[in-house]
């Protein structure tokens, strides 16, 4: 205990007081760490909030059910219930239907409507009714008895300003209907799902409202406590073909998988800011250890052991970590307000609907953020602490000039760096681990470390190479600067390493985002072709489960002289927990105006087969995730049909909710079972007219003819929306990148400032022997220019390597897709000089520091 107290005292005397003297440097490092920690924590908390919201909703909706009966791509016959309830192992069974619907007014937000039998459902889900006048029992009896009645969740009741007895008009895929509000759900159980934006109605009302008679989405089961695996098999045996029996977690897990992949990528990106901050800590601790070397020798000569010095500097690193993390709290609070909304919107748009009500501070996430921040700060301080440990006490004497260890050549570090870089390729070839691109991320880390380790050697070589040439071209200041850079070894190289990392990230992400955007733009142009897209109301939200009404299809025939109609039907299925869409398409009609974006296979051979219904084509994502490729058999249960078809080829597709499999609509109907159109694309036959005006007119005509019964979106707007969503998704990435660059600039500023202060005696000696103020300041500026330009160039080179890893390894392993590699030379050629200018501007404080005190004073001082 006494040793610990003494150590604390020594730390306060030696480290904290020195930090207080140089508070600006310490605050700069703390700001860097705080920014990194704030970004890392707020990103994770934001995504976690969405993940929690989704999981909670799914669990609340699943209730106490331990198994769920579904028919992939179809419905379950309602009459199965009586057979199930007669099974000795089944305690309860409840048929359930759910859909998104909304109030029939412009701009209304959709909400979840759940239909079930209130009596059968009671054992499975918790919900209670709050009604003003009637007792609860009467209310749900009314729900059973009176058609078109519903009970609202509290959020909805508040939003609609509805009370018992009010009537609201709801619209759905097929129709609009008035519903009478019977009461509100108490804020518990099922009422908490979907952020409270949920309503319940009787199953018969639901079926009438949606036009699904005698069928349900699923039957939730609860087994008796003594039920065994044999009972489960028994239950499976009584099920008709095509019905699956699974735990309710299956649906939840596939949604969670998508959110987690997104979370991992954002976490890694936000971790990069912390990683750059680590360089900042290393830089300052290393500079402290080096500049205070005489004091370290004094400590050693008075009896301090090497371990005392080691732990002092390790403690400095830990202090930066802890204090930086605490400083991150207000910054994180600020960031999270913007991130929470942005992230949940992105997840809802790209993956699954989430309704984030509040942010919960997860203790584990806070602990993770704290631990990671402190760990990397301590790790950053490790090497300087080890070097400090080796300070000899004899350095306290003036004769320490004799027998001093020769300056270490950075060659060893460079060898280490080369080894790291060489390992990048084999690592990147390894497959994903647990569907996470961990080898890919490790390869990225080694790439950064490799380039950072090469930096001192590169500085030495470039400094040596350029020094004579620079003396001729730019005079003595440039020469001295290059010599100093050559001899400064690891001290300046650390800040260069930070700049390399930040610039590499910037460059690689500019390339990746550009490549991705170009590819997506091409895909939308080729594959998301259509002048007008037509679906049922809220079709996308309800996963296109409700076909377009026959009367709508018949009414549209009136326009056949002007337009070609290309119908489709989509089924949302899973392939062992991996979600994908099985899209039936009028292939011939599609190919008249659009095309697939081929990745593998010869379209000239494949397309005729596809048109003849001889096989399917799958998306790259589907192929990468399932391991199925051209030549393999595609098998699926779609409604009442079991499908087995060969895979003919692979196409690029950038839908975000899993993979896609395409098949001919007409051949599906002929071969398997009747199915109706879920949506359509409309193309004008006359391509020479003003298509925008034509679309507008057609929309008006359709509404005039059949009323507002369908959702319509012009192709131009749809394609624009895809790209807008893309840009919004990567807005977060851009912000994270800029933060990393700011941290790197802070590193440059800190390093140069400290180096100038350390060398004040040297610089003033130069002055004393004839150098002018201008020449000395010019020398410092040249040094800054060296560090920044070398860091930038190395960063750009590293960035190109990194971009390959991101495009062809990380994206493929995270999301299953790759894209066409392209370089945005325009953006790079503007941004790279801008970064140089910014980093040089960060060097200005150091230049100003040079003659803070009169030279004579400094030369006289000891």
């Amino acid at each position: 205990m006494r040793n610990f107290i003494f150590f604390l005292r020594l730390f306060i005397w030696f480290s904290l007081r020195d930090m207080r003297k140089h508070i600006g440097r310490a605050l700069t490092v703390l700001l860097g760490i705080a920014l990194g920690a704030a970004v890392f924590t707020s990103v994770r908390l934001s995504v976690n909030a969405s993940l929690d919201s989704f999981t909670k909703s799914m669990d609340l909706i699943a209730g106490r059910a331990d198994h769920v009966l579904t028919r992939p791509g179809g419905y379950v016959a309602e009459d199965l219930i009586s057979e199930l309830l007669n099974h000795p192992a089944i305690e309860s069974a409840s048929p359930v239907l759910s859909t998104y619907t909304r109030i029939a007014q412009d701009g209304a937000e959709p909400f979840l409507l759940v239909g079930f039998d209130p009596i059968l459902d009671r054992p499975l889900r918790s919900w209670r009714i709050r009604a003003k006048s009637n007792p609860e029992a009467f209310v749900w009896l009314d729900l059973l008895k009176d058609p078109y009645t519903l009970i609202l969740g509290e959020s909805l009741a508040t939003e609609f300003n509805s009370a018992s007895g009010d009537v609201i008009l709801l619209e759905h895929a097929r129709q609009r209907s008035n519903f009478k509000v019977l009461g509100k759900l108490e804020r518990e159980g099922l009422a908490l799902a979907e952020g409270g934006r949920i309503a319940i109605t009787d199953i018969a009302t639901f079926q009438e409202f949606t036009g699904i008679f005698g069928k349900v989405d699923r039957i939730d089961l609860r087994l008796k406590p003594f039920a065994t695996a044999k009972d489960l098999d028994d239950i499976r045996n009584i099920l008709p073909e095509g019905i699956t029996l699974n735990p309710p977690s299956t649906a939840r897990e596939s949604g969670q998988g998508m959110i987690r992949a997104y979370q991992l990528n954002l976490s890694i990106l936000s971790f990069a800011s912390l990683f750059v901050g680590m360089f900042l800590v290393y830089s300052l601790v290393a500079l402290n250890a080096a500049s205070r070397r005489p004091e370290l020798a004094i400590l050693r000569s008075t009896g301090a052991s090497g371990y005392h010095l080691f732990f002092i500097f390790l403690a400095e690193g830990a202090l930066f970590g802890v204090a930086g993390w605490l400083m991150a709290i207000p910054i994180g609070n600020f960031l999270i307000k913007y991130l929470l909304h942005g992230v949940s919107q992105t997840i809802s748009t790209l993956f699954v609907r989430v309704q984030v009500e509040t942010l919960t501070l997860d203790g584990w996430e806070i602990l993770l953020s704290f631990s990671v921040t402190v760990f990397i700060s301590v790790l950053a301080a490790y090497q300087p602490a080890r070097e400090a440990m080796q300070v000899s006490p004899k350095e306290a004497l003036e004769i320490s000039q004799l027998g001093m260890r020769p300056r270490k050549s950075p060659r060893q570090l460079a060898m280490g760096g080369l080894i790291c870089i060489v390992l990048v390729w084999p690592l990147s070839r390894l497959p994903a681990v647990l569907q996470m691109p961990l080898p890919g991320y490790l390869a990225i880390l080694l790439l950064f470390v490799g380039f950072a380790l090469l930096a001192p050697w590169a500085l030495e070589q470039i400094g040596a190479f350029l020094s004579i040439k620079l003396r001729k071209l730019a005079g003595m200041p440039a020469y001295l600067a290059s010599r100093h850079v050559r001899d400064s070894g690891t001290r300046t190289a650390v800040s260069v390493g930070a700049l390399i990392t930040a610039v590499a990230l910037f460059t690689s992400l500019v390339i990746m985002i550009y490549s991705f955007r170009q590819t997506v733009e091409f895909w939308t142009h080729e594959t998301i072709r259509g002048d007008l897209f037509l679906t049922t109301k809220m079709g996308d939200m309800n996963q296109f489960r409700y076909p377009i009404a026959q009367e709508v299809i018949e009414n549209l025939q009136a326009f056949k002289d002007k337009v070609d109609i290309v119908p489709n039907r989509r089924f949302f299925l899973t392939y062992t927990n991996f979600p994908y869409e099985f899209e039936l398409l009028d292939i011939k009609g599609f190919l008249k105006y659009a095309s697939f974006f081929w990745l593998r296979g010869d379209p000239e051979i494949i397309l005729p087969k596809l048109i003849r219904g001889e096989g399917v084509i799958v998306s790259e994502v589907f192929s990468n995730r399932t391991g199925l490729s051209a030549g393999d058999a595609f098998r699926a249960q779609v409604g009442e049909s079991s499908i087995e078809l060969p895979i003919l080829g692979i196409v690029r597709d950038y839908r975000t909710r899993g993979g896609v499999v395409f098949y001919s609509l007409s051949h599906f109907k002929a071969r398997y079972h009747e199915t109706h159109w879920g949506g359509m694309r409309i193309f004008f036959k006359d391509r020479t007219q003003d298509l925008e005006a034509a679309v507008s007119n057609l929309r008006a005509d359709i509404i005039e003819q059949m009323g507002d019964k369908v959702d319509m979106l012009s192709g131009q707007r749809l394609r624009g929306a895809v790209l807008r969503i893309f840009d919004e998704t990567f807005a977060i990435t851009t912000v994270l990148l800029l933060i990393a660059l700011v941290i790197a600039a802070l590193g440059i500023a800190t390093t140069l400032t400290v180096l100038v202060l350390e060398r004040s005696r040297q610089l003033n000696t130069l002055f004393a022997i004839g150098a002018s103020f201008r020449q000395i300041r010019s020398m410092i500026f040249w040094e800054a220019a060296f560090l920044v330009v070398i860091g930038e160039l190395a960063g750009v080179v590293c960035g190109f390597f990194l971009s390959y890893l991101l495009v062809f390894v990380v994206n493929r392993q995270s999301f299953g897709w790759t894209f066409l590699y392209g370089v945005d030379w325009g953006s790079l050629s503007i941004s790279i000089p801008l970064i140089i200018i910014t980093a040089l501007a960060a060097a200005l404080p150091a230049v100003k520091m040079v003659f803070r005190k009169p030279p004579a004073t400094l030369l006289r001082e000891r």
Partner: protein
């Protein structure tokens, strides 16, 4: 360790220290044989580069000899491990440097306490001892001053107090008056002489100055790393 009074305080035989500088070798000291009894005040004289500071660094345990035997206060400095040397520097030797070598972020009292705290003494005990020493040395009004606020003489006196805090058996001073004017230099020498006369400390002073000549009980002359005269 209890000193054996019959044994010399310092015993060196064939003591040699060679430094490697790039490809060449520089001889710090060469085949030095030396015996100093306890309680002596030794002056070490010689020109720059004669090996005075090298010899002191070996005696202080700051460096290790290349060859030869060296025993200081019954500690065989050839055979000691690094941790034993650390202990030696704490407890056995008090070192005074030409450039004072005070820690700039510690005040006078803290600088003096530091070796005692390193030796494991409590803060209270260390403060008490340090205060007494500083009072004796005439710096009791400067306890809370930082080194930057002291004159050269005050800094060196602080360094002397620091060197004494753990009651070392031997005090080694490397050019203690080198950065002082003659008045302050004399004060420092008188303090060291008093330590030797009154308290029987063994003191070795490496110096160019003649201020300590009259106080010395032993004079050693070094040239080119070897003792040329022993008076």
């Amino acid at each position: 360790m209890e000193l054996n009074k019959s044994q010399p305080m310092i015993a060196a035989k064939g003591l040699t220290r060679i430094y490697k500088l790039g490809g060449s070798e520089v001889i710090g000291i060469n085949q030095v044989d030396l015996e100093i009894a306890a309680g002596e005040l030794v002056i070490l004289k010689g020109n720059s580069g004669s090996g005075k500071s090298t010899l002191l660094s070996l005696l202080a345990g700051l460096d290790r000899p290349t060859r030869g035997d060296l025993t200081v206060a019954n500690h065989d400095l050839n055979q000691t491990s690094n941790s034993e040397l650390t202990h030696f520097r704490r407890q056995v030797v008090g070192m005074i440097f030409q450039s004072f070598n005070l820690l700039p972020t510690l005040n006078v009292l803290e600088n003096v306490c530091l070796p005692a705290l390193l030796a494991g003494r409590s803060i209270a005990e260390s403060r008490l001892k340090a205060t007494d020493l500083l009072k004796w040395i005439g710096l009791d009004t400067r306890l809370n001053h930082l080194p930057a606020q002291l004159s050269g003489g005050e800094m060196q006196r602080t360094a002397i107090a620091r060197a004494l805090i753990n009651d070392p058996s031997i005090i080694l001073a490397d050019e203690p008056t080198g950065n002082l004017d003659s008045h302050n230099g004399q004060i420092v020498i008188d303090l060291l002489a008093e330590l030797n006369r009154k308290w029987g400390r063994t003191i070795m002073i490496a110096t160019h100055s003649s201020l300590a000549d009259s106080q010395a009980t032993v004079k050693l002359f070094l040239k080119d790393g070897m003792i040329t005269n022993h008076l």
